[in-house]
Amino acid sequence: MSLTRRLIVCLDVQAGRVVKGTGFVGLRDVGDPVELAERYEREGADELVFLDITATHEERATLFELARRTAERLFIPLTIGGGIRTVEDIGLALRAGADKVAVNSAGVRDPSIFTAGAERFGTQCVVASIDAKREGTGWRVYTAGGRTATALDAVAWAREVVARGAGEILLTSIDRDGARDGYDLELTRAIVHAVSVPVIASGGAGNASHVCDAILAGEADAALVAGILHDGVTSIAALKGAMRDATIPVRQVAA
């Protein structure tokens, strides 16, 4: 026996509400984060991620308050990200109720945040969030919610964040995000093979076979889903059932 593969539900939040868009634009309100979080835990989600997609300084207090309200009612791991700028922010997010903190743009600006965060709080709470877009034969890293191109190659960057202390990688394909035509399996596999920490595949889930592909062909440790659940296209039970049928080890939830 060993680790099961995880199904992680992402809630994009803005001003305390869950929203969902396509390719980082065109947002729609899809519900109350705490209610959705509780519902997804009951249904068998293995983890939750709150990503504050506005990520402004003013929004951060709202995000931390939301983390606090959620943590008091949630008994599965909660990752929060968006607008984390300093190692002090990581500490505040953890104190507020996060179990893990995702760092994206701030890590590109100054990668020492991964090292400082890991030393202070442990490598298992520091998640490097990488947004990558296909370009030629590789993938370029973007920041600021997919708006700003960097000079970084995604595979090399993944190696660097892990060397600096990140304990997990949340890998989002900008090309696939919200498109529901499947994860970027080649990108996922390239990152999984480059690092020794768990990799969460994100961006592109449209149905259960996409999720299974992310694990089996993409070799991801976890698959992140959002819109297809919030819109009622499928359910956690259906996704986990399909994973089980594909002989992927998953956590069973008692009925």
């Binding site: 026996m1 060993s2 680790l3 099961t4 593969r5 995880r6 835990e41 293995d46 606090r68 943590a71 008091e72 009612r73 949630l74 008994f75 599965i76 791991p77 909660l78 500490g91 953890l94 104190r95 507020a96 109720g97 996060a98 179990d99 893990k100 030393e119 202070r120 709080f121 442990g122 490598t123 298992q124 709470c125 304990g167 997990e168 020794s196 920490v197 768990p198 440790d221 976890a222 956590r251 069973q252 939830v253 008692a254």
Partner: protein
């Protein structure tokens, strides 16, 4: 019943505090290790690194070990379980030494171990009653007890097999996070408290 979470300054304690609550119980956080001993149940929570946590409990290390040996009920979670041992390869400082043995790195190609792992050879009565079969882990280090008879459940990751829990009459240490292991995890905590 007074339950005290020893707060070494790192991490989310909200879910754990909520999981400990119940009829006739009060839950408080205490950063002073000596003051934390004035309680009915001591909880050593699970997030942080060994060295700063060992430094935080150093001023009351002997008193805490003696209190636990004299029967003060205690739950140690993840790092909290590791602090019940003598020392850790992760960082400097001394643990409580309640259990003989060191804390060392898991032998696995992928670390940290993050995710839900199965428990096997479970003898712990509360784990069994709670039907906690798959638990959430977030760690790179595990405890190596000199006396394996204290181990009450096991897990495996990579090439390694390690204690998922250790138990004496009134002390339980768990390497996973029951407060993050959904309903069965919370049930385990509740059953342990009810057994006291």
């Amino acid at each position: 019943m007074q339950i005290t979470l020893f707060d070494y300054g790192a991490g989310n304690l909200h879910s754990l505090a909520k999981a400990l609550r119940g009829e006739g119980r009060t839950v408080r956080l205490e950063a002073d290790p000596r003051a934390a001993l004035a309680t009915d149940v001591l909880v050593l929570p699970g997030v942080g690194a060994f060295a700063p946590a060992a430094a935080a409990l150093a001023p009351a290390r002997d008193a805490m070990r003696d209190a636990l040996r004299d029967g003060l009920p205690c739950i140690g979670i993840c790092l909290g379980m590791q602090l019940m041992f003598e020392a850790s390869d992760e960082g400097a400082g001394e643990g409580l030494g309640l259990f003989s043995g060191r804390v060392t790195k898991i032998d696995a190609p992928q670390l940290p171990q993050i995710g839900w792992n199965t428990l096997d050879d479970v003898t712990d009565v509360d784990l069994r009653a709670a039907k906690l079969e798959t638990a959430y882990y977030a760690n790179s280090y595990v405890c190596r007890p000199a006396d394996s008879s204290v181990v009450s459940a096991w897990s495996s990751h990579g090439n390694d097999r390690f204690p998922a829990s250790v138990r004496t009459a009134r002390t339980v240490g768990v390497q996973f996070h029951p407060e993050k292991s959904s309903a069965p995890g919370v049930r385990f905590i509740q059953l342990f408290l009810e057994s006291l």
